[in-house]
């Protein structure tokens, strides 16, 4: 047991840093909300050119073949340089399903375009009223008489960035008479340009447009776009749900977040003295920092177990729960730090084309919306209550 990095690891870190130094300033230190589609794609292409888009993929499809430690270093340095993330919908969500269960044609068609960023993917899992109960799929897909197409009707919701997407992967019900809800579901890939698809924005309480409703009306999808066997979609989806633990906890980003929070506290004044010298406030920051250190080592232990050959499992629920709670606490403390200047709300005006000076200090902008927005982290991807149910059942055997 040791924490040492090998000389190879150090060399790798240097290589990563050299690459990150080359990232242009307009891609650094911007939140996802502030990043345009073009910015996101520019970043994706940079990483693609470097060959580092998909560390977790098998090497044959374009994975990097990195060790656990190398993946850890990559995450850590990404956060340190505050570069954007690679969106997960293609690379970490649909791709493992395609390379694990897809046909050779599907692999050849989709994987390279995911890697290169040519296709922007979104996720069609959630449905209205279903929440974390993903197996209650009601969107229907019926085979045409010639057996060549599915006709899809229904609605997906909470679809992140569907407004930019080229493709959507969907769970659809192909056998409404299956004896169990989890049966009779198929996994299909749908071109967003297909007639009958309509995307409607959902505005969230932070004032942002990140998620959407996606409506399907007689959407014609070629049978070749089904992954694996008909009615077996739930099996494939489940694999996806527990896949890819690296980064789920967001440790490296939260570390950076704590640094930023300390900077804010260093600028806010309390009775003329920086808030960062107030023991009461700072003890909350310290507590969070210690929580995060514990989570970091929990993640490292999990990664180590994974690289020792134990497959992804319910431990990802542990990382999800603690990671999301820490992210929420971070925005909560930031809002607390900025005092009165949490109040002003300027929507997107302060982001684009706002020519006047901002209201209040720069660092206060968006602190309340961020806090509002972060509420989602304990809701999406299976609410934290669901995660606790999973741990109770799968780990504690209750």
């Amino acid at each position: 047991m040791d924490l040492n990095f090998t000389p190879e690891d150090e060399a790798f870190r240097a290589e990563v840093r050299a690459f990150l130094e080359s990232v242009p300033p307009h891609l650094r230190g911007v939140s996802r909300r502030e990043l345009s589609k073009e910015g996101q794609l520019e970043w994706h292409r940079m990483v693609f050119k470097q060959g580092w888009v998909a560390p977790a993929w098998p090497k044959e499809y374009g994975g990097t073949g990195w060790t656990t430690t190398q993946r850890y270093i990559w995450q850590e340095e990404n956060a340190a340089y505050e570069v954007p993330i690679i969106l997960p919908f293609g690379v970490t969500m649909v791709a493992p399903v395609i390379y694990s269960f897809g046909s050779e044609e599907q692999k050849a068609k989709f994987l390279p375009r995911i890697l290169s960023g040519e296709d922007w993917w979104c996720q069609g899992y959630s449905e209205p009223g279903a929440g974390s109960d993903l197996a209650s799929v009601r969107t229907k897909a019926e085979l045409t008489e010639d057996g060549k197409h599915y006709i899809v009707n229904g609605q997906k919701t909470w679809t992140t960035l569907a407004q930019h997407a080229d493709w959507i992967f969907c769970l659809v019900r192909t056998d409404p008479n299956a004896p169990k809800r989890q049966m009779g579901i198929s996994f299909i890939l749908v071109d967003m340009k297909t007639p009958g698809i309509e995307v409607k924005p959902i505005i969230t309480i932070d004032g942002g447009h990140e998620v959407n409703d996606v409506f399907f009306t007689d959407v014609k999808v070629p049978v070749e776009n089904r992954i694996g066997e008909e009615n077996m979609g739930w099996t494939y989806a489940k694999v996806l749900l527990s896949h890819e633990r690296t980064g789920i906890a967001g440790v490296a980003r939260s570390k950076k977040g704590i640094e930023r929070l300390k900077e804010v506290a260093g600028q806010e004044l309390l009775d003329g003295v920086p808030l960062s010298e107030d023991k009461g406030f700072m003890s909350k920051v310290t507590e969070l920092e210690i929580d995060l250190t514990a989570l970091e080592f929990t993640e490292l232990r999990t990664l180590a177990a994974e690289s020792a050959g134990k497959g992804p499992g319910p431990e990802s629920s542990v990382l999800k729960i603690k990671g999301s709670e820490i992210q929420q606490r971070l925005t909560e403390l930031t809002l607390e730090a900025v005092g009165h200047y949490g109040f002003p709300f300027l929507g997107d005006e302060q982001l684009d084309g706002w020519n006047e000076s901002p209201i209040g200090p720069d660092y206060a902008i968006g602190s309340a919306p961020s806090y509002y927005n972060t509420r989602k982290t304990t809701i999406y991807g299976g609410s934290n209550e669901i995660q606790r149910n999973i741990i109770a059942k799968m780990i504690l055997g209750l």
Binding site: W158, G272, L275, F343, S383
Partner: protein
């Protein structure tokens, strides 16, 4: 000891409750906060007609002579409707300054205008670098002949865009954070040298930055005593806290009730989510937090008349309770509503946004923990 409401109080509550039910449904409010003005001036006039704006003022000046408890019941109902019209800044705070510190002329002229709905007041007490310390003022008021010249920047004056007059705290003497040397001024918005930057707030209100650039006012503008204004400010702010706590109770009541109702209707895995024991106990804890908040709101409103130390301790204790309870209730209301809780279309998210900012208003939990502890020494 008596914990019952008078008939007049029940009547006042019903008046406001009915107004909110009839004229302030969620869609109407959504339109109001998105409108250019951000409020309904006609509603303000209706408040005047209903006598709501008259509640705390002496009968001599056309008021109803109501008590803190009267304000409390009204604020609770206004909170339930997330009403954005500036009752708290104008009637509670503005009115408080006028009642406790106004000259005979102020009382004779301004109070009737407030009661009549013709004068909106926005207190501008906060500053960009002062956080929640009411004495931490960089704004100065320098003696200039018979009058004063004001210079400075007041931050986040809620209701500012609609205001006819500002109440402005400024330093007339002493060092930046000295208790002595604070003076309160009542300043017309259209005074030369006074400018504002108006903006919406994250919880649906409007506020202003108020810039003072050699603003000349006469000595008549002073409310209370020169240099000795801090106690007046603290008193009025404590009354504001008591009223805000009542508003918060209204907001929390809605969050608790709406969450319980939602949990009964919303089905997951084939059953109502309200049948899950974990959510049941969570809602019980929301309810406990709400009940404890109501208790503290009664407490602070009943103690506003006690000596300054008792009053301040009561206000700070209540604000701590409301801040903590509001966070717990707000966060869990959203969590139990799931994705629906964070959409702009559904009401629960708006109650959450307001209860969040109530913690900041008049000083957050940390500030009032410190204030309470200092007063206990």
């Amino acid at each position: 000891m008596d914990f019952s409401f008078t008939e007049e109080q029940t009547l006042l509550r019903n008046t406001v409750e009915r107004f909110v039910q009839d004229k302030y449904d969620f869609e109407t409010r959504a339109k109001i906060i998105k409108s250019d003005d951000g409020w309904r001036k006609d509603y303000w006039q209706q408040f005047a007609e209903l006598g709501i704006l008259a509640a705390p003022f002496d009968e001599d000046h056309g008021g109803l002579g109501g008590s803190a408890i009267d304000i409390m019941v009204m604020m609770e109902e206004l909170g339930k409707g997330l009403v954005v019209e500036p009752f708290l800044p104008t009637v509670v705070l503005g009115g408080g300054f006028l009642r406790h510190g106004g000259t005979a002329a102020h009382k004779a002229e301004v109070i009737p205008a407030v009661i009549g709905g013709e004068c909106v007041i926005a207190p501008a007490y906060a500053e960009p670098r002062g956080r929640f310390n009411l004495a931490d003022l960089e704004t100065t008021a320098k003696k200039d002949g018979e009058g004063y010249v004001l210079n400075g920047h007041k931050a986040v004056a809620l209701g500012g865009p609609w205001a006819d007059k500002f109440i402005i705290t400024a330093r007339t003497s002493g060092g930046q954070r000295d208790e002595q040397g604070v003076t309160v001024f009542l300043v017309d918005k259209n005074t030369d040298g006074l400018s504002t930057r108006d903006y919406p707030t994250v919880d649906g209100y409007r506020a202003s930055e108020v810039m003072l650039d050699n603003v000349k006012v006469s000595a008549d503008a002073i409310i209370g005593d020169v240099d000795n204004g801090l106690e007046l400010v603290e008193r009025v702010m404590d009354e504001g806290i008591a009223a805000l706590c009542a508003e918060a109770c209204g907001v929390m009541k809605q969050l608790v009730d709406k969450t319980i109702a939602y949990s009964r209707e919303r089905k997951q895995f084939g059953v109502a989510i309200g049948s899950f024991q974990v959510l049941q106990h969570r809602m019980v804890d929301m309810y406990l937090n709400y009940e404890q908040s109501v208790s503290m709101t009664y407490m602070v409103n009943l103690k506003l008349g006690e000596d300054a130390t008792e009053r301040k301790k009561a206000a700070s204790a209540a604000k701590v309770q409301i801040g903590r309870a509001g966070k717990f209730i707000g966060q869990n209301a959203v969590q139990i509503h799931g994705g629906m809780g964070i959409t702009e279309e559904m009401d629960v998210g708006h109650y959450f946004k307001r209860i969040t900012m109530i913690d900041t208003q008049f000083g957050n939990v940390d500030h009032h923990m410190r204030r309470y502890a200092a007063l206990s020494e």
